[in-house]
């Protein structure tokens, strides 16, 4: 039986590789669409970014679950692990939103660049998460210049999490009903 830690390495590499490709393509897509003349590479970048993001997102739950299982004491016993958890879910949420927006929402001009920015930030979250993994296992990573990510965590009480969830879901429902009525 494969150990959780080994499985975590495999899934993490899938997530990081896919997100890194997606982030690069989002960035290039924004650059290529800056000019007035459409660049023929832009649609390729756009498609590649979203397919890579989708692939990374599919591997993400496996990475998170195997990561939690490979920590003997749990993510709640270290600020670094807690930050890994929060960053990966933040990046996952952004990626999910970006894919949904690409599928269901209108994009032009500024909103396209904003969309690409969200995709790139999602990649940043994932790369930072992976870098924290390096700090945890090897005590060395490219983000050693960010000590606060290792030592402190911004935690909110449970009730506030419920409030955030309720607010966002309500806002999404309100928006949907408003779109149906006036759209």
């Amino acid at each position: 039986m494969i150990e959780s830690a080994t499985f975590h390495v495999i899934t993490t590499e899938l997530v990081v590789g896919s997100f890194a490709l997606a982030g690069l393509c989002f960035l290039l897509h924004s650059i290529l669409t800056l000019g007035k003349t459409p660049n023929k590479l832009a649609p390729t970048m756009d498609s590649t970014a979203h397919v890579a993001l989708l692939f990374g997102l599919l591997a993400l739950p496996f990475a998170i679950i195997s990561g939690m299982n490979s920590s003997p004491s749990g993510a709640h016993t270290s600020p670094l692990l807690a930050n890994k958890m929060l960053l990966s879910t933040a990046g996952g949420g952004l990626a999910l939103g970006v894919l949904f927006a690409r599928w269901r929402m209108h994009q032009d001009g500024i909103s396209r660049h904003l969309h690409n920015a969200f995709g790139t930030i999602s990649t940043g979250c994932m790369l930072l998460t992976a870098s924290l993994g390096g700090t945890y296992t090897r005590a060395d990573s490219l983000t050693e210049f960010l000590p606060f990510v290792k030592e402190s965590t911004l935690l909110i009480p449970s009730w506030m999490s419920f409030v955030v969830i309720a607010l966002i879901i309500s806002a999404l429902f309100l928006r949907k009903s408003s779109t149906i009525k006036h759209g």
């Binding site: 807690a82 952004l94 939103g97 929402m105 060395d140 449970s158 969830i165 966002i168 806002a171």
Partner: protein, 318 residues
């Protein structure tokens, strides 16, 4: 232009970066010797360490009783520029399954607040390093222990290479304990660490002991006797709290029918209180993150209008 770009990317991928094996160490843990050869990647890249090793036990090693195993590593002259030094205590050199616990030993203390066979020194200042483990043999007979090290070295012709060294085998004879000799209960596990500001109540179970005195000291410092009371077969005493991160040592002196017996000095490390968050709150916050950031992207975006749907339909079908 495209060829130049491809060439540049290829060069970037080919040029090796600053590749160092675990420069921050891997932390004290239970490790096979395999880690010493393979933690740095390809074991063929290892250079041989010139350090010398010795290993000895303090007195007779009785079965079921704690024994202090002291390792000395010499040759750490100023010509060596070591940063991290990892030391293994091994029961064989098979490179796997060679942790002493697989050969009838129990590691009671690694001298650094844990029960590991592999420990790391962040830096070494002296020419000779002495480190002690407290082990307990669970079987009578001859046993062999090995010392192994891995480290970096920024001097000499192999500067920058991962260095690896392993000692000869050191034989230890595990003796049966005389029936009426006063001793610790063979199941006793001494505490190895605690939090700063906490006193530690010891309950030391003994067999055939008429009187027990418990002493404590700072490493190599003056010993203080603790007030010890008997509660059935358990001798109780309270170790004082530490104010900073530090290690104290304690031992028990046992009187009975046989000659006076003294246990090894058991190290007890005091560490900062461990960080712990509410697990449920963390899980909820993680779910809130997914929903919040998903909602953020969707809410700031622009919904498709009927015209957009129509143009999409035209694009797809015409």
């Amino acid at each position: 232009m495209r060829a130049k770009l491809v060439l540049l990317i290829a060069l970037v991928l080919i040029v090796p970066l600053d590749v160092r094996g675990n420069p921050g160490g891997v932390g004290n843990s239970l490790e096979d010797m395999q880690c010493g050869g393979a933690c740095h990647g390809d074991a063929n890249q290892n250079a041989s360490s010139s350090l010398q090793f010795s290993l000895q036990s303090a007195g007779t090693v009785w079965v079921g009783q704690p024994a202090e195993i002291t390792v000395q590593i010499s040759g750490l002259e100023s010509s060596h520029d070591l940063d991290q030094l990892g030391i293994f205590l091994l029961s064989s050199t098979n490179a796997n399954g060679d942790i002493p616990t697989t050969d009838g030993w129990t590691i009671l203390s690694d001298g650094m607040g844990g029960s590991n066979n592999y420990i790391e020194y962040a830096s070494v200042d002296s020419e000779m390093l002495t480190h002690s483990w407290i082990l307990r043999a669970d079987e009578i007979g001859e046993k062999t222990l090995y010392v192994s090290v891995h480290h970096g070295d920024n001097t000499g012709s192999d500067a920058g290479s991962p260095f690896f060294g392993v000692s000869q085998g050191f034989s230890l004879s595990i003796e049966p304990i005389p029936e009426n000799l006063q001793r610790l209960d063979s199941d006793y596990q001494p505490p190895t660490s605690r939090e700063i500001g906490e006193t530690t109540k010891l309950c030391v179970p003994t067999i055939a002991a008429e009187n027990v005195v418990i002493e404590w000291r700072e490493p190599a410092g003056q010993a203080y006797v603790l007030e010890t009371t008997q509660n059935n077969q358990c001798w109780e005493a309270e170790l004082p709290a530490a104010l900073t991160e530090s290690t104290i040592e304690w031992r028990a002196v046992l009187d009975g029918e046989g000659p006076q017996q003294t246990t090894p000095w058991f190290p007890l490390a005091s560490t900062e209180p461990s960080w712990e968050a509410n697990e449920t709150a963390l899980m909820l916050q993680s779910i809130a993150h997914i929903i919040f950031f998903f909602g953020l992207v969707v809410l700031v975006g622009k919904s498709k209008s009927k015209e957009d749907h129509y143009s999409d339909y035209l694009e797809e079908n015409i």
